[in-house]
Amino acid sequence: MELVVYLEKIMKNKILLSVAIFFLIFCFIILFKSLNNSNVYVPKSISEKPLINFSSQDLFSTVKISSDQIFIGSEFYILNIWASWCLPCRDEHAYLMEFSKNSSIKLIGLNYKDNPDNAKKFINKFGNPYLFNMVDLNGTISIKLGAYGIPETFLINKERKILKKIVGPLNKKLVKEINLIIK
């Protein structure tokens, strides 16, 4: 008897209840999905933003060079922020060496808050992919460039516009993407 009463009630409130439950399921799915998303927040890379001007010492020659002298005479440039104390930098070094074989790209290193001796040792040990290696002793240039941390890599075209900005070490997928842009 009671069951019938309840059933009648369900029928009466069928639409409301099913809407509510449907909504609940919808929320559940969305929240469940977003749980698995990473919540590291990276602002959208500012596409085609012009590169700022800067000047600094070269690591090896200790000559002061400005960015006007560096970004000249090539189709593409890769600006890589690195340090000898940074472990992910070692991982991505092989990819940079790969890029240095490509004649249409010039590689520029920005040595971030590093001991120059350690930096030189690093280059001597793993090879030098960079044409120039600028010293950023107190990290101000990196901040001006809008870097989040190291390693970080900027792909720059001949008009000195930033085409792509990569936070974190390079990997196979990212190298592929860069190669696509260059072609």
Binding site: L17, L24, I30, L31, N36, N37, N39, G139
Partner: protein, 627 residues
């Protein structure tokens, strides 16, 4: 070591008690006897076991037992004793144990305090509450056990995050939880009431105490969190519309609406279904808050750990609870056929209902602002963040009407008031407050229509509530105090945001900077060494245009365990304004970054919140409420 073992096993035993108490309850529900005394003893036993477990965790923290993983992650042997104890609930595992402790305490109190209620209703409330309790037990034991054993035993702990080492924050979580958990009693009781068809005047009278208690603690808890953000985070504000702040505001808004609608239910037996919906919503929002904070979906200062398995557990648990409440509500709820003569526009219940709808509007703004970015990201993979302008724009215009209704509403009678009752005094006061608002706006040369209306409305409420203290005696003291506190809060917030000024600059020792309102001189710095940190104190002399001098000493603390730099703002508080100075290191440089702010009426924001709470507390101790 021993303490951890005791804590762990008493936690398991506590869960077992749940399984013992449930069949007793069900049996007792169907027989004709009075309520079984075993229910009392078992729920006390459960509370005692959880208390034992919590106490064991405190002991582990006090003796710095690093074989316990929670202690290892969050404590350090050099920490002051007060923060060792506060560290117990300053982390995910410990704070959940605290939740559970309050949960078991409250249900025990509910059982002994509800003697005059029907038996079946009480037993059902206990059963619904046990569902929540079992959920929390399982959650703690399966995903966040505070008693995990570490081997080899580390020599030293990792230390408590220094920004959490603050007296206001040490008591912020327990107070807030009292509020959250109190709402769980309201949830269970209203579901039980629906099943038993007991949503009535009598029910309203009895549940009102619980609503008041949770409302008081929730208000205090939010205020403490806000005080902490103001003094410790050094951002120079008290509310940032941070998602985690929002999730504590949502249950508060719901509870505030509930607090008012329960009065209508108590007096006039109307709004019953609305009250039930609010009761369910309040607890749902509390649980949503726990979910959003603990799952790591939101990025915030409160994110303890990003462990998806925890998030999934709470999400499933939350959905089950909502599903249960939906089914119960739709199946059992029966609209009572009460003869209500007529609903008049000019009556207390209408104005409470209108204010309720306004609160619901504010609630949905906060809800959308908090949840929309999460939904958008999943659906369209787009990341947005919602900031203060969104909330200000959407809330301010409606706040004006809200305040006006709030000033007039309490003046009206239940059921019906004639137009004649509205006296000329109210209009005069309104004109007076508009005049004040006009002069303020004129003085600062700030042209914004909404602002000027808002200030008038806020002052209007302020004057009306102030006037009430003198006119009607003590007939409804708690309402007067709370509404007065609220008007004071709104006025202080408005004046604070309108008259705040700020200077940010880089200074080195010996330099001075002059700005619109005076001169700041950076005199010297002093290095000090403390037990668990090293401090750099800067001495600043600030001279304003009237040649008044103050010395501010902001501090930089370099903690060694874990290595963190925090900046402690120095704040000089007076009744008129707070002077707030914070300094930061500029890397590799002799300069310090200085931010100096003058924040008018800051102390009044805290005081007025306390007044609001005081009003609620008065209501708790008053036996007979208004005719």
């Amino acid at each position: 070591m021993l303490a951890s073992q005791i804590g762990y096993y008493s936690l398991i035993l506590g869960l077992l008690v749940s399984f013992l108490i449930t069949p007793i309850c069900i049996k007792n529900f169907y027989d004709n006897k009075i309520i079984d005394i075993k229910i009392f003893s078992f729920s006390f036993l459960q509370f005692f076991l959880v208390f034992l477990s919590f106490f064991a965790l405190i002991i582990s923290f006090v003796i710095s037992d690093f074989s316990n993983e929670t202690v290892f992650n969050n404590s350090h042997s050099l920490k002051p004793l007060f923060y060792k104890i506060a560290g117990t609930w300053g982390n995910h595992e410990g704070s959940l144990l605290l939740w559970l402790l309050v949960l078991t305490l409250f249900i025990f109190l509910f059982i002994i305090k509800s003697n005059d209620q029907p038996k079946k209703y009480r037993i059902l409330t206990i059963l619904f509450q046990q569902i929540i309790i079992v959920g929390f037990f399982l959650f703690i034991l399966s995903t966040s056990n505070p008693f995990v054993f570490l081997f080899p035993i580390p020599k030293e702990g990792l230390g408590l995050n220094p920004i959490l080492q603050d007296p206001a924050l040490a008591i912020h979580p327990p107070i807030l939880y009292l509020g959250y958990v109190g709402s769980s009693i309201i949830f269970s009781a209203s579901l039980a009431g629906v099943v038993q068809n007991y949503i009535s005047k009598k029910w309203a009278k009895h549940i009102k105490i619980w609503i008041l208690i949770s409302w008081i603690f929730l208000t205090l808890g939010i205020m403490l969190g806000s005080i902490w953000a103001y003094y410790e985070l050094g951002w120079g504000g008290f509310w940032f519309w941070d998602p985690v702040e929002n999730v504590s505001l949502m249950p508060w808004l719901c509870l505030t609406a509930l607090l008012h609608s329960i009065l209508v239910l108590e007096k006039k037996s109307s709004l019953a279904s609305w009250t039930v919906i609010l009761s369910i919503a309040t607890f749902t929002f509390s649980m949503c808050g726990t979910f959003l904070v603990r799952s790591g979906i939101l990025n915030s200062v409160h994110t303890f750990a990003n462990d998806p398995s925890r998030g999934i557990f709470i999400l499933i648990f939350l959905s089950i609870l909502i599903l249960i409440s939906l089914v119960v509500f739709f199946l059992f709820y029966e609209e009572k056929k009460i003869v209500i003569s007529k609903t008049y526009f000019l009556s207390k219940e209408t104005s409470i209902l209108i204010n309720n709808w306004f609160v619901m509007y504010f609630l949905s703004v906060v809800l959308i602002g908090t949840v929309y970015p999460i939904f958008l990201e999943v659906i369209s993979n787009e990341k947005i963040s919602v900031g203060p302008p969104f909330y200000n724009k959407l809330m301010m215009p409606f706040l004006i009407f809200f305040l006006i209704f709030m000033s007039i509403g309490p003046k009206l009678h239940w059921i019906k008031t004639g137009f004649k009752k509205i006296k000329i005094k109210f209009f005069l006061l309104f004109i007076f407050s508009s005049f004040i608002s006009y002069s303020i706006i004129k003085n600062i040369g700030f042209k914004n229509l909404i602002y000027s209306f808002l200030i008038s409305a806020a002052f209007y409420l302020f004057f009306i509530t102030l006037k009430d203290f003198f006119s009607k005696g003590f007939s409804n003291l708690s309402q007067k105090i709370s509404h007065f506190g609220f008007s004071l809060l709104i006025v202080s917030i408005l004046l604070n945001s309108l008259f705040s000024s700020e200077v940010t600059t880089n200074l080195k020792i010996g330099e001075k900077i002059s700005f619109k309102k005076g001169i700041i001189t950076f005199e010297s710095i002093e290095n000090k060494k403390y037990k668990n940190y090293q401090s750099i104190v800067g001495y600043f002399r600030i001279e304003d245009n009237k040649k008044r001098l103050i010395i501010l000493k902001p501090e930089l603390r370099i903690y060694n365990q874990p290595y963190t730099i925090t900046s402690e703002a120095d704040i000089k508080t007076t009744l008129y304004a707070d002077k707030f100075l914070v300094m930061n290191l500029v890397k590799g440089n002799e300069y310090f970054n200085i931010r100096y702010q003058v924040k008018p009426f800051m102390i009044w924001i805290w005081l007025s919140t306390l007044i609001i709470v005081l009003g609620g507390t008065c209501s708790l101790f008053r036996k007979n409420y208004e005719k």
